[in-house]
Amino acid sequence: MQKEKVHFEIDINVPQENVFDFLTDPKNIPLVLPGLVENYNIPELPIKKGSTFNFRYQILGVLLDGKTIIDEIERSSIYNFTTEGEVDSKWLQNMTTKNGGTHFTLDVEYTPPRSWLDKAKLTMIQEINRRDAEKYTKNLKELLEMQS
């Protein structure tokens, strides 16, 4: 099955720990990821490798449910997870310190479900996902810099 990839990076003017703490609390993510409606069934924090929770994502007015599984988590630098269900994706998030702030890197690999492909053009979905990922990094910067 065809896989799509998205890559973004951004400098955020807050300490690396703040970015990591924000990202690793699943209830924060709908604040910065436009298509994500909610994360639920969130386990007790802090989440660790193997932790799971459910998500609801909206694309083209359709709600998709699935499960997030934490693959790798290393305090303040790495937070990787995969999603299963109607949307299969792999998220690699890396944080490094840069000029007292954080350099944040995002790589997303996803497989568009066949049912979408029947109804919509792949390029449209690619564009929506690319825009969502870009907004995710920009919103993360705006919110965390406002909070600091």
């Binding site: 709908p30 709600l63 049912s115």
Partner: protein
């Protein structure tokens, strides 16, 4: 798969809908000249133009629920605000949020301090997004 029903619509979208709806209706006069819908077209067109304003939204719940959702979202965003004379002000950006009840609907008006401020736009989009959520698990 479930279809999502929006609980908050921008006046810009609603206004555009009315304006564009008036166009096919105009064509229907040619096809069905015996039906007098000219007045409806004119009304729709001008209502559409009138309400097409940015930073205004209509929600389908009461003013108190709307305000509660806004306050909960600002709490989640860890942004301080003040509430005075029916105006909610976000301290960090000074963005003002007015909540007005109109019958079964509620109108949210954002008064932006800066033009094209990314921060203010982000706050507005997030507060409107959370108006769509009915699940308490999101807070």
């Amino acid at each position: 798969m479930k279809i999502s029903v929006p609980r908050a619509i921008s006046f810009n979208t609603l206004g555009s809908f009315f304006v564009f709806l008036s166009l096919p209706l105009s064509l229907s006069i040619i096809i069905y000249p015996f039906i007098n819908i000219t007045n409806l077209i004119i009304v729709l067109f001008f209502i559409g133009l009138l309400i097409r304003r940015r930073n205004r939204f209509i929600t389908f719940h009461s003013a108190s629920v709307t305000r509660k959702l806004i306050e909960n979202t600002l709490g989640l965003m860890k942004l301080n605000y003040t509430y005075e004379l029916d105006i909610l002000t976000v301290n960090k950006t000074r963005t003002q949020i007015l909540i007005r009840s109109i019958g079964f609907f509620t109108v949210i008006i954002f008064n932006m301090i800066e033009k094209d401020s990314k921060r203010e736009k982000y706050i507005m989009n997030t507060l409107i997004k959370y108006q769509q959520l009915s699940s308490k698990s999101s807070f």
